[in-house]
Structure formats: C-alpha cells, structure tokens
C-alpha cells in the first residue's frame, strides 16, 4: 500500500513546472505511545508546499493535521510521540536528519509557526516587547537596541496602534485579536520563507478573524516567494485564503486539489459530505441538513481498509478490506477513494 501511495503521491507538482516544492512531506508517520497501544495520529501523509502558495490543510479533530505540522518543525513531544517513518524535505534538505542545533536555526529563521491560542502561546510574565525581541536576538543575533527598533517596526506592520508604547504591556493587557497580531509579528520578524499557521483564527470572533486573515494575506503579498501552510477545520476560511487544499481524515490525506476544484467538484465522499453539511449553504425550510453519520473514529481504533468506510454513504465491500491508494487526476489533484477506479471502468 505504501509503495502504491508513494508512486501516486505527487499532486499538482508535475503540473506546475517550477524549481520544486519549498516543503515536501513524504509518507510521514507520526505515532504516539499510549497505554491502550500505539496511536497512529499521522499515518503515511504526503503533501508539498510550493513556493509562494497558500496551502490549506483541512480536517476535523483527530485527523492528524496539527500533528503533521508539528512534525515538520520537529516539535512533537517525545515521549510519547515519535516520528516512525517518512521524509520531510525543506528546500531539498532532509529535516528529519538535522541535529537539534540545526533545527533551532531553521525554526524562526526559515519556518515559523503561529498557534491556535494566542492567549496561552505567549508567556504571561514577560512584556510583549521582550517576547518579540527575544526571537530577534536569538535568531538574528541583533543587539538589544536594534532588536527593539525592529520589534516596534514589526508591531507596527501588524497594525498594533501605538506600538512603541505597547511594547511595555503584558499579554493580559491585550485582547485575543491583538495577541494574535503579536504572534504573527513574532513569527514574521525573521522573514521566514514558510509560515505554518495552526488554526490561527479559531479562538477569535468573526470580525477579528477577518481582520487577521486580511493581515496575513497582506503580509504574504509583500514577499512573493513566501508560502503559508494554513491548518484549519473551517472550510470558509480555506475557501477565502488558500490556493490549494489538502483534506485529511483518520491520519491520511484523502483529497488534494486546487481550492476551486475541491469546493466546486469535491470527488471524495468525505469532502463532499463536509461541504454538503454546512448550514451556510441551506435554509431550514429546505429540509434537514445533509449529515455524515456516526462519529470521528479514534486513532486507536481506525477501521481497516478505507479510514472513512464506517461513515461513507457510498461504501462497498472493497472499501472495508483494502485501503484505496491516492489516485492522481489529470488536473494535478488526487483522491483516495476506490470509486475513482470503479468509475473509470
């Protein structure tokens, strides 16, 4: 199965003839040791981030989307987690073979990350200014004075009013939206090529969310070759920001494609079900919403065969026995479903 997956996994890459992906994740396996056995949170995931693109990874809780991203930066707590296999290449360099010191030089300078909860991601006992400066001093070896100037510049860039004065404030004096701006400032202060944003707006209100997304797009527009890997469960956010989308379920990539194709013509029954069950596309008078039956299975008790077979409304015998490979489509996208083969016959 893995052999097959490898041969099939190269979506969109061949279609665009450019210098090659910025980040390439191949057959990544990140497992966790638990009392109940090994939990395969990420089980053979492959995707790539092209230079200058915004790639969205969508999935529900437990799909493995966050773990996949943390694996890229080697931030999986070990124990209990460990990377059991696969390859992660950043600009051709294998990240999994780097030492801790080498990884530290890559984090922040090359690949930066924003987390979901800005309230907990910042240290409450240090001022905002110190936390932005820390990154600059550590990764860019700037002097205290230079770091301070640059920090003010960055806070200005993320539109924190009165930035110089607010450097002295502590995190609790900022609102959630403002803290997320600070997180973005910290992430971008070393000018990384790749920004990994893990649910950056989930903890925020809609009007703040829209401000933060616009800010990210605006900052992205300033640097052409920089890429964003945006992890979210919100399909609306993906549709508004991403060029390409990876849909994950049960620790596997289920569908990959351009945002227009995924939202216009979803091919995987899971993607289709997710879109159909959104209330924004319906009215109460139209009758009940489409539902995907059942619950998201736990990583400890995944079905054999297709991970979605227990909830799929188009399931047939083969799905329960054999995991489908990631089928490539002519437009560069890919779908992990047996139906594609059935339809081709």
């Amino acid at each position: 199965m893995t052999m097959q997956t490898q041969t099939h996994d190269s979506p969109a890459h061949a279609a665009t003839a450019n210098p090659g992906p910025l980040l390439e994740v191949r057959d990544l396996k990140t497992y966790f040791r638990t009392e109940a056995g090994i939990s395969k949170a990420v089980d053979g995931v492959s995707f790539e981030v092209l230079p200058g693109e915004i790639l969205g990874i969508v999935g529900e809780s437990g799909s493995g989307k966050s773990v996949a991203c943390l694996s890229v930066l080697r931030l999986i707590p070990d124990p209990p987690g460990y990377i059991a296999g696969g390859e992660i290449r950043y600009r051709g360099e294998p990240l999994l073979e780097k030492s801790y010191a080498q990884m530290r030089a890559i984090r922040g300078n090359e690949i930066a990350m924003i987390f979901q909860e800005p309230m907990t991601a910042l240290n409450p006992v240090f001022t905002i200014g110190m936390q932005v400066m820390e990154t600059l001093r550590r990764h860019q070896r700037l002097s205290r004075r230079a770091a301070r100037e640059r920090a003010v510049e960055m806070l200005d860039a993320v539109k924190i009013p009165d930035a110089r004065k607010r450097m002295k404030d502590y995190p609790h004096q900022f609102s959630g939206g403002m803290l997320q701006r600070v997180m973005i400032a910290i992430a971008l202060c070393c000018n990384p090529r790749l920004l990994i944003a893990d649910e950056p707006t989930t903890a925020l209100d809609v009007t703040t969310q829209s401000q933060i997304l616009d800010l990210m797009l605006e900052l992205k527009a300033r640097r052409d070759d920089a890429s964003i890997l945006l992890v979210t469960h919100d399909l609306g956010v993906v549709a508004e920001t991403c060029d390409r989308v990876v849909v994950m379920y049960g620790g596997k990539v289920q569908e990959v494609g351009s945002a227009t194709r995924i939202f216009g013509q979803p091919r995987h029954p899971y993607t289709h079900g997710l879109l159909a069950s959104l209330p924004s596309r319906h009215r109460k008078g139209d009758g009940p919403l489409y539902t995907i039956p059942g619950n998201v299975p736990s990583a400890l008790d995944m079905p054999t065969g297709c991970k979605f077979c227990t909830r799929c409304d188009r399931v047939f015998d083969r799905c329960r026995l054999e995991e489908p490979p990631l089928h490539r489509l002519p437009d560069g996208s890919a779908v992990r479903c047996h139906l594609l083969e059935e339809e081709a016959r």
């Binding site: 403002m178 616009d214 919100d234 069950s277 209330p279 924004s280 919403l289 539902t291």
Partner: protein
Amino acid sequence: MSTPALLEVRDVSVAYPIWGGIFRRRVGEGRAVDHVSFTLHKGETLGLVGESGCGKSTLAKTIIALLRHTVPGVRYEGQILFHRPDGSVVDLLALTPRQMRPMRSEIQMIFQDPFSSLNPRMTVAEIVEAPLRVRRVKGRRAIVRDLLARVGLDPDEQMGRYPHEFSGGQRQRIGIARALALRPELVIADEPVSALDVSVQSQVINLLVELQREFDLTLLFVAHDLSVVEYMSDRIAVMYLGRIVELGNADAVYQTPGHPYTQALVSSVPVPDPNVDRSNRIQIKGEIPTPLNRPTGCPFRTRCNIARPSCADTVPELEPTPTGQLVACLFPPGGQMERPPAEA
C-alpha cells in the same frame, strides 16, 4: 408572529460590580446587558448573535437565573415576563430561588461545552434522570430510555456508561436529552454546536430542529456563528456591547442587514466558496470596547465606518426600517439618509 408571547424581556439591564480599594468597596459597574427588550413567541426560534463580550450569554443566563442566585452584587433592572402553561404570568427577575424552582422544569438550558456540563461521576441514565428525580416524576426509567432513544443513543448499550466514554457529539445529545426530560416550554441553547466537529454539527442541528417540532419547543438560540443561527432561527437579534442593535426576520437580517455592525458581521463570515468576491466586504476597524469604557451615545460609533459627530450624543433606539426589521442606528445606511463622504 401571530402566536402568543411566551417570554417578554422588558428593558432588562444587568450590571456587574467592580470592587476596588482596600475595603473592596463597589467602585463602579460594568453593564453587560443594557436595556434589552424583545418578545419570544410560542414555537419560534429566536437567534441571539454577537461576538464574545456582547452580553448574549449573560442575557441567556439571566433569563434562567443561573447567575442571580449565585453571583453576589450583580444589579438587575427590568422585567422578564414568562407566560406559564397554566396561563399565569410571572416576572422571572422578581422570583426568589425557591419560587424559581418550579420554573426550571418549564425553562431548560443546553450548554456549550459537552465536556464540562455533564457530571463525570454519573452514568448517562443518572444524568438524564436527575431532573426527573428532583421533580419526583413516576416511571423515570422508561422516560429516560425513551429520551435516549429519541436523541439517537442506544439505551440498552449506553445507559450505564459514563460521559468520558462518549464523543463530543454524543455528549451533546445526552445534554439535549436531559434538557428535554421535563418537557420544557422554553429551551435556551447557549452555543450548542460550536464545540463540535463540522461533520457532527449538522447531526446535532438536525436533531434540534426535529425535536423542536416534536416537543413543540420555543428556542432561544445563542451563538456566534451566523450561518448556524441563520439556518436555525425564525428571527435574529444582533447584540453589540450589551444592546440589541438589530432585530428582525432571519432572512431580512441576513440578506438586507440594516445596522452597520450587522453589515460588517455578515460580511465577515467566511463563505465556503472560493469564487465569492471578497473585495467589497465591510471591515470593522479596531476592537470591541469593554462594558467599562462604553462609548457615549451609540455603542458602535467608535468602530462604525459611517459614524458622525452627533452619534456621540444620543443612544439610538430600535426603529423600523423599510426592509421590515428594527435597527438601532441614527443614520441607517441604505435607509433614508445617504452615506457621508468617504473618510478624510
């Protein structure tokens, strides 16, 4: 709405105390809910939307008196008239805890967090049975089995299990079964689906709609997710900084929002369609003020893109608009007045 009123909220304000000084004296107060009025008719769903801190949850909890008897020093004003099934009318804000108790079988609540709202040391059967036991209802086991089956759980299999053995969506079903156990008239649902996964959300939404029909429920649906509220509600009330700024039929509020805040809120909701043009969206600047530094006049004027100097002088009241909803704005955009020239 032609159906009779079930709940009349009249000019209700809720103010939290601010304690200060070495003697912990009351030095001020923050108005979480500020002169709110609306009527909930029998059988309808009223959606209450707004961002965090707008007072929607405080209002919901005030109706069912969850804060009143537990949090000291909070000041309440106004009346909440509840029309009981026996025809009598009571002011919920004037009741003592003891007098409130019988009301609780007529008004029930579904909570946001399915993880903290169920007692981890009680089995599912005990949780759903609890309200029945308090009211000394006969034949409880049978009722519990019936309720669990009704919300899509398997009574034989799952009655003896504990909450941690269930997923978020299933726990929310247990919470719904508990809320319906006493056959309430009014159910207050405070963000009932926002903690759930997308693929499970629609299951719970459908269940709520079905049960509403079957049990003839009146729903006060509190949420921040506009698309869910729009789907669920007959009417929508939009709150900002403790005040209702717009109230009207769900279609009207969503399709032709009258208040500048509602317009920004509606246009901020991400649309799951990459082909939708985002360029003409209305962006709100700045941050929501806290109830402690409430602006004078219109509460929204500090962030409003069409605010005028005179907005600082008068607090706007809800007035009918040509599209049929009530809007609290002195110069409603697209209404009688044209927009002022672009900002200098």
